[in-house]
């Protein structure tokens, strides 16, 4: 005898459940970033040290935004059964995400060379915590993209078979969304 087969097991229901579950998780993760971002103003006020490299911050932002476009194109490719577009854009996203991590490492190196941005100082605490938590999200996104790339590069794609790509891409956009708020909070605000 086969067990009960609920409607939630059909593809449409499963996709709806996956999307709903992921969105719930993303919203809870956003609350974590909101708490960290607000802590910057309580700990250090509205000032930003001159030692912060503005051009590096701008470069990291442009790189991450660009990776969001390639992630979006990978999702379009997966949903529209265009394997070349999906694979190429997944690889480009992985490449740009990796460059972003290298850039954050460089940012940390610069921060450690100035006393005001040491991890033990108020601004340094904020800088290392925010960029560290965000970089962890980037790394998990890169792992997800790598797994998805190897899982889907030859497997069935197209409508109804693209959840793996869609889920990873949504996660990546959350990483991008968080940075859209981290960038002005850490680099630009100076009041």
């Amino acid at each position: 005898m086969t067990a009960h087969v609920s409607n939630a097991t059909n593809k449409l229901q499963e996709l709806a459940l996956n999307r709903f579950g992921l969105w719930l998780f993303l919203v809870s993760d956003v609350s974590f970033f909101v708490a960290l971002l607000s802590s910057r103003f309580f700990v250090y006020g509205g000032a930003t040290p001159e030692e912060i490299n503005q051009y590096l911050g701008l470069g990291l932002t442009i790189l991450l935004l660009l990776s969001s476009l390639t992630a979006y194109r990978a999702e379009v490719g997966a949903e529209r059964n265009n394997r070349t577009m999906m694979n190429r854009n997944l690889l480009l996203t992985i490449l740009m995400g990796t460059l972003f991590i290298v850039g954050v490492g460089f940012e940390w190196k610069i921060a450690l060379s100035h006393e005001v941005t040491w991890p033990s100082k108020p601004y340094g605490t904020i800088l290392f915590t925010l960029t560290g938590v965000h970089a962890t999200h980037v790394v998990t996104g890169l792992i997800a993209f790598t797994v998805v790339f190897f899982k889907k590069r030859k497997a069935d794609i197209g409508e109804g078979n693209s959840w793996a790509v869609e889920g990873a891409v949504k996660w990546w956009h959350l990483v991008d969304l968080a940075w859209v708020f981290i960038y002005p909070t850490l680099y630009l605000v100076n009041s």
Binding site: Y72, H173, V180, F181, L188
Partner: protein
């Protein structure tokens, strides 16, 4: 996403990314040219606009409504039993 052609979807992607780049440059310039509460207000508004573009066009937030509708139907319609 499903009703648009692939060309339209890719065009949406380019339009959104160009808008995000322009807003980022405005942010950068505003941070240099403005100060105090005005700077904070302008940077906050720009960040919210950028975030909205990402959530709306890249994350397809509109899918949530359809997902919830589909889930409700799954709950309301009785489950099938297979033997």
């Amino acid at each position: 996403m499903s009703t648009q052609s692939i060309g339209q979807l890719l065009r949406v992607g380019w339009v959104v990314i160009i808008a995000l780049f322009i807003l980022t440059i405005i942010e950068f310039v505003a941070a240099i040219g403005l100060s105090g509460i005005l700077q904070l207000a302008v940077l906050s508004i720009l960040a919210v606009i950028k975030g909205t573009l990402i959530v709306q066009y890249f994350m397809h937030v509109g899918q949530i409504r359809k997902s919830i509708t589909d889930l409700w139907w799954g709950i309301l319609v009785p489950s099938e039993v297979e033997e």
